[in-house]
């Protein structure tokens, strides 16, 4: 049985896949996210982001603190479409 470490649980991305991507030239969180999908799932990178930053650091020598983070995109946590669609008193505040 092959030994695999899952780095991104939402999108089933393994450590080996992340390392291979970095060695192929995808050396930032943003680039890895766009090709491997890690950070695009339910948790939006909250679990895998730091792990990937550390792997990038190991592979490229760039410390995690000097890497550019991916943009935090709304919503903060998953929201049912029906909830967003419902009329509410907060509409005006954000219009």
């Amino acid at each position: 049985m092959e030994s695999v470490t899952i780095i991104c649980r939402c999108e089933d991305v393994t450590e080996d896949e992340v390392r291979a991507a970095i060695r192929e030239g995808l050396t930032s969180l943003d680039e890895i996210k766009r090709i491997l999908r890690c950070g695009m799932g339910h948790c939006q990178g909250r679990t895998c982001g730091r792990l990937i930053a550390r792997i990038i650091s190991q592979e490229t020598g760039v410390p995690a603190s000097e890497q550019e983070w991916t943009t935090f995109r709304p919503p903060t946590r998953p929201v049912p479409m029906g909830v967003l669609a419902a009329p509410g008193e907060r509409d005006d505040a954000h219009a």
Partner: protein, 383 residues
């Protein structure tokens, strides 16, 4: 790392799908001394922010003809590039809610069928057969083209870039163009923050930033950026095949191969800007429209939203080809929200023009000179 080349036959400005497709096609035609310069990373602009739809149903003949040629290239692209594209042909279903739209779509379908496109005019009941979960209230008619589809913009851009590099092209990321040197009416060099590249040709494929590149050679390129927003849900079981457009609502919705459902719209009242922020008004507006259109989506969770730029021209058609009185400068800009879907044919046509001096489809009508006269052929099918 090896330093960037200081000479090239062609410098392509922009590492989006169009720039990478141009570079690949140049190399494929034997012109391998090509350098791509991209100020961020591949597909970090409009390409990587688009919905990924690939449509042939247009209102103008040049757009339809280009889109049909592009689809023929998409069909063989995965094999050609040796890289996954996630290309599928689930069709496009376009809904009509007004008599004006019905009349326009009848015209569109007649023109499209004249070009040999497999497209059908549907009753609301027939539209419901194509997408059983669709609420057809208010729908007067629809058009459906089963060979329309979708692909993965990130993978396709990277596939083009890797294939171009294998053939000898050089792709430079995190490299910003600061100047274009012109002398005697000819392009001489592209200057970047990483060095100067002497070149015979330069291709402006800068997407939303095309006008800023035009300024460097003294051109007023009529391309303006407008924000369009998208949101995406968690993945669910396959629910519907086609990308669905309502021009009346200014929206589209598509289910990705991955299972997530992606939906987008622009705000016609928002002025041109480089704003890429995401807003709650958009999330509210589009979820209302889509829960009404596909009621079973109400419990599906939104996980992310983002924004991208439509690089609009005055007639919503691209600007393609050379300009008067400036030898060596070629444009592939102003795709007005639809650059991804015509990138394969655009790459081929620009490469043919540079290498052979002639193109397999006419591009004269897409030159910038057309804006000198009165606009007569505005593309109507823009969402």
């Amino acid at each position: 790392m090896t330093p960037m080349r200081d000479t090239a036959e062609v410098v392509v400005i922009g590492g989006g799908v169009v720039g990478c497709a141009v570079a690949y096609n140049l190399a494929k035609l034997g012109l391998t001394d090509v350098v791509v310069v991209e100020k961020g990373y591949l597909a970090c602009g409009a390409t990587g922010r688009c919905g990924g739809g690939i449509r042939q149903q247009w209102s103008t003949l040049p757009n339809t003809r280009m889109a049909m040629a592009s689809v023929r290239l998409f069909e063989g692209l995965e094999e050609e590039l040796g890289y996954p594209t996630e290309y599928t042909q689930g069709g496009y279903l376009i809904l009509a809610y007004t008599e004006d739209e019905v009349a326009q779509y009848r015209q569109n379908v007649a023109m499209q069928r004249g070009l040999g496109l497999d497209v059908r005019f549907l009753t609301p009941a027939q539209a419901h057969d194509v997408v059983p979960c669709l609420n057809t209230a208010g729908v007067l008619a629809a058009t459906h083209c089963p060979t329309d589809g979708k692909g993965n913009p990130f993978l396709i851009t990277r596939g083009y870039a890797l294939a171009a590099e294998r053939l000898g092209a050089e792709v430079n990321l995190h490299t910003t163009v600061t100047d274009i040197e012109v002398a005697g009416g000819k392009v001489q060099a592209v200057v970047t923050d990483k060095g100067r590249i002497a070149t015979r040709w330069v291709v402006n494929a800068a997407g939303g930033h095309a006008a800023a590149i035009g300024v460097l050679v003294g051109l007023d390129v009529p391309v303006k950026p407008y924000r369009h927003e998208i949101l995406v849900t968690e993945p669910i079981e396959p629910l519907f095949d086609p990308l669905i457009i309502s021009f009346y609502h200014g929206t589209y919705i598509v289910q990705e191969p991955h299972g997530s459902i992606l939906m987008g719209q622009g705000n016609p009242d928002e002025p041109s800007s480089y704003n890429l922020r995401s807003g709650l008004p958009f999330a509210r507006s589009i979820t209302r429209k889509m829960v009404w259109l596909i009621p079973c989506l109400k419990d599906v969770k939104v996980v992310r939203q983002w924004a991208g730029l439509y690089a609009m021209t005055p007639d919503a058609q691209p600007i393609l080809g050379p300009v008067d009185d400036l030898e060596g400068y070629v444009q592939a800009v102003g795709f007005s929200g639809h650059g991804f879907m015509v990138a394969p044919i655009t790459g081929q046509l620009v490469a043919e023009f540079i290498v052979r001096g002639e193109t397999s489809l006419p591009i004269d009508g897409l030159s910038m000179g057309r804006f000198a006269g009165e606009l007569v052929h505005r593309e109507a099918s823009v969402v």
